[in-house]
């Protein structure tokens, strides 16, 4: 069994306690009952269960949480946040972990942040999702050119996928939102 020196992780524990506190999540409220994990539909596929992920942060082992597959397999179904008897917003905690892991470049399941990036590029460029471009770019970036390739023609046949990009009359408002958010984030 792995030994962890909890004195060494104390400062990380404090850092994450404060970081999550600012988002309205009180890590120390969690008494490890496991109700989040019991209701989590993806728990069996995760390397650390939702309860264990909270525990990792309580103990200052944030690096393990950030490098886990768990945060990328979370489907954001909000069952954990709904059922927690201590009102710990585990789903929101997963969001914060995903954002940090992605920025630190340590995502254990890279295809998921690649999808989010590609999706948001589409929104920035067109104002709405341009699904055809999204699917093609995503497949190129993950180097699985023929991933779900059968679905495209199937959907097009039913008029559910379009060749042309959506046209949004927003006067460039969406591009400006992305620019202002970026400016704020990057200072």
């Amino acid at each position: 069994m792995e030994t962890v020196d909890l004195s060494a992780t104390l400062s990380t524990a404090k850092e994450w306690k404060e970081k999550l506190q600012a988002a309205g999540i009180d890590l120390s409220s969690c008494y490890q009952c496991g109700k989040c994990t019991a209701g989590c539909p993806m728990a069996s596929a995760m390397d650390y269960s939702p309860r264990q992920t909270v525990r990792l942060l309580q103990l200052g082992m944030a690096d393990t949480a950030l490098r886990s597959r768990t945060i990328w397999l979370c489907a954001s179904c909000e069952t954990c946040a709904t059922r927690c008897p201590r009102d710990v917003d585990v789903a929101k905690m997963m969001d914060i972990l995903r954002i940090e892991a992605d920025r630190a470049g340590v995502a254990a399941v890279p295809s998921v942040p690649i999808f989010h990036k590609t999706f948001l590029e589409s929104v920035e460029n067109h104002g709405r999702v341009y699904e055809m471009e999204l699917m093609m770019k995503f497949n190129m970036r993950t180097r699985k050119l023929f991933n779900n390739a059968d679905l495209g023609p199937k959907m097009m046949q039913k008029g559910k996928l379009h060749f042309l990009a959506p046209k949004v009359d927003d006067g460039g408002a969406v591009r400006k939102i992305f620019a202002r958010v970026r400016e704020r984030r990057d200072g």
């Binding site: 179904c77 929104v123 969406v174 939102i177």
Partner: protein
Amino acid sequence: MKIAYYPGCSLDTTGIEFRLSTAYCASKLNLDLWELPGWNCCGASSAHSKDHLLSLALPARNLALAEKEGLDMAVPCAACYSRFKTVEAEVRQDEKVQQQVAHAIDMDYKATNNTRSLLEVFAGGVGLEQIESSVTKPLTGLKVACYYGCYLVRPPKLGHFDRAEDPQSMDNIISSLGGTPVDWPHKTECCGAGMITLSPNDGLPLSYEILRVAEICGAECLVTACPMCLMNLDLHQETINKKLKANFNLPVFYFTELMALAMGASPKEIGLNRHFVNPMPLVEKIGRRETA
């Protein structure tokens, strides 16, 4: 009744039947859906995994446009609805967030208006009585598993219109159409969402379970209010059958499609021909039961 209408990206593509059937029901029920001019994507499940402020600003611009007109906003897609409810709650709770969001969208937004799920607009606003009195072709004998999924009801702190466990609004609508909602335990289980495509080995079993339990409980079809759930259960039903050795043949409808059918719509005008699991044999069966 006039309300701002935010269709969301899916309703022009994968969820086109939701748009067509919603328009049909609105016209039958004198619901004035004013589509927001120049609406933008809400950021869906991607923005909140990338940047918190972005995940608030994208839906907020749409809400601000409706607020300017003094209107509440009707949102059909459950995933969009959840993003709108989130920004609404955060802006109301924290003035600092309100200012950050207003700066990001370069518009005033104070969340004085409300986001309403289309399900809530029909079940609560228009009301079951009016729905019932507009039915010309009742869904007599049709056994329906009402599938709510995640975002219509969770997390409850966002102030949803229905309860988080065992919600009722869709079941009530089906009853007022003359159909029979089945009692089943998977109303709010997750369908696997994006994991169906991003990690199919982990995602597909979730939708499989929903189909399996619906069938065991005697449902002839499922009904949902979420384009993502519908895509997973309908488009991917064939994949589920192949990969998980099943033999499902369960049509999946938007609740507005069943409403429209019961109000006399022809299957084609509301897009029933665009489903992947062919619903027509079941639709014809309803017709036969009704005349029997």
